[in-house]
């Protein structure tokens, strides 16, 4: 007896796991031959799994780093911990609250083991996750032998990276 939720073979793959051949294709509008379509089907599925994995990894790593930072912050500052007390969160959420917002101050903050620096690092990992996803997108379209879409995605990646430089990072 096998457990009903455990897939045992290709026939029991979930229905969303199989891209239909009719929907496959590259730029240029040419219809794929049956052989090409069979290869394309596997490739498209691999790309979907890869992109999903990049997003999931980025999310998990950033949450772990953010949680570590939060833990350290509360461990270092006993005054933050009580459920009731005089220490108001407003002292940490006003415009004058000090926290790192440049790479040099972030580096110093992490070196000193400050929780807030480590949280910011986790948030930056979260921000970079979509950028990494676009980079994987460029590679995916090269892998699918689709130059027009690879160029489109490369343009998006260039604008994204450019936006960080324009910001003066």
């Amino acid at each position: 007896m096998t457990h009903p939720n455990v897939p045992t073979g290709a026939s029991e793959r979930p229905p969303y796991d199989q891209p239909p051949v009719e929907a496959l294709g590259r730029s240029g509008g040419r219809v794929l031959s049956p052989e090409e379509a069979a290869v394309m089907k596997e490739k498209v599925r691999k790309v979907e799994v890869a992109i999903s994995l990049v997003l999931r990894t980025g999310v998990v790593v950033s949450v772990l780093v953010i949680a570590t930072g939060l833990g350290l912050m509360f461990a270092h500052h006993g005054a933050y911990l009580p459920v009731s007390g005089h220490f108001s969160y407003h002292r940490l959420t006003s415009r004058s609250t000090p926290f790192p917002h440049s790479f040099s101050s972030l580096g110093r903050s992490i070196a000193r083991g400050q929780g807030r620096g480590i949280i910011v690092l986790g948030v930056l990992i979260l921000i970079l996750t979509p950028v990494l996803r676009v980079a994987v997108g460029v590679l995916s379209f090269v892998y699918e032998k689709d130059p027009p879409m690879a160029l489109v995605t490369l343009f998006v990646l260039a604008v994204l990276i450019g936006s960080f430089f324009l910001a003066g990072v």
Binding site: Y16, P20, E22, G29, V47, S52, R56, I127, V152
Partner: protein, 279 residues
């Protein structure tokens, strides 16, 4: 309220924002910004920074599941990102030029209109079988998804790429100016203008909002708008909520998604108009 109370309560609210955002393709910023400013009395600029973080968290958290389940149209999403990212970069530099009040009113009116068009389409979810859109045909932006409610594969054709791109540019602009994912504009652009099925529009919007937000996040970081004690509970809570929410979309009917979307749109539209007219 002590910092611990703040972190725990904000994380719980963020879980709810993540569930809602992942379901209808919005970033959850529409929940986070009013909660932070009205409930916690946080400065609007810090609230906007937290909202950008929430958008990226919703997007990455939900898209990981939607892409694997083939709910997202990857080709259309990546193609339309041309317009959203360029819009976002231009928007990040227009903040100083355009008066915010004008923006709120403009955005409120646009949303009121798109809630109306989305509502009008509530019974029509017949995907197109033919497309004469040259751009969509050239880049093969058409797709197909498995609908768990109807238990069948649903192929669809994409039209209206040009109005779609124009709306996406505006969405990117608004996203950077107001610190929201602007899924509120992306979903109607795909649903009404480009005729993608509602659930695909929502999943693809989710996929795109992270990239749009990332394009302006660098600016917010350098300007010191990303406060760690606000960002931490928001990011963690929203990620958890979005992961939960992504498990729901497949099992909900398109019509339900559209109705929830319209209700949220009306609320945001009123919120924006109120901010613009009675600040």
């Amino acid at each position: 309220m002590t910092p611990l109370d703040f972190v725990v309560s904000l994380a719980l609210i963020s879980v709810a924002a993540g569930v809602l955002g992942s379901l209808i393709g919005l970033g959850g910023g529409v929940v986070i910004v009013p909660v932070l400013t009205l409930l916690y009395h946080v400065d609007i600029r810090l609230a906007i920074g937290a909202s950008i973080v929430s958008v990226i968290a919703t997007s990455s958290g939900a898209a990981a599941a939607y892409v694997r389940e083939r709910m997202t149209n990857l080709r259309a999403g990546m193609f339309l990102e041309i317009a959203t990212t360029t819009g976002a970069v231009s928007g990040a530099y227009l903040t100083t030029v355009l008066p915010t009040r004008f923006l709120f009113v403009f955005f409120g009116v646009v949303l009121a209109y798109s809630s109306f068009t989305t509502f009008r389409r509530r019974h029509a979810d017949q995907p197109l079988t033919v497309s004469h859109d040259r751009i969509a045909n050239y880049f093969n932006l058409h797709g197909s998804y498995y609908d768990a409610v109807e238990q069948r594969e649903i192929p669809y054709k994409v039209v209206g790429t040009k109005p779609g791109l124009a709306l996406m540019y505006v969405a990117g602009l608004v996203s950077a100016l107001l610190g929201i994912g602007s899924g509120a504009l992306k979903v109607p652009a795909m649903d009404s203008a480009m005729h993608l099925p509602m659930k695909v529009s929502s999943a693809t919007s989710n996929f795109m909002i992270g990239v749009t937000a990332a394009a302006s996040a660098g600016v917010y970081f350098i300007r010191g708008q990303i406060d760690p004690i606000i960002a931490a509970p928001v990011a963690a809570g929203v990620l958890l909520g979005a992961t939960l929410g992504a498990r729901v979309l497949g099992r909900v009917a398109s019509k339900t998604v559209r109705i929830v979307f319209v209700i949220v749109l009306v609320v945001i539209s009123l919120e924006m108009l109120q901010k613009g007219i009675f600040p």
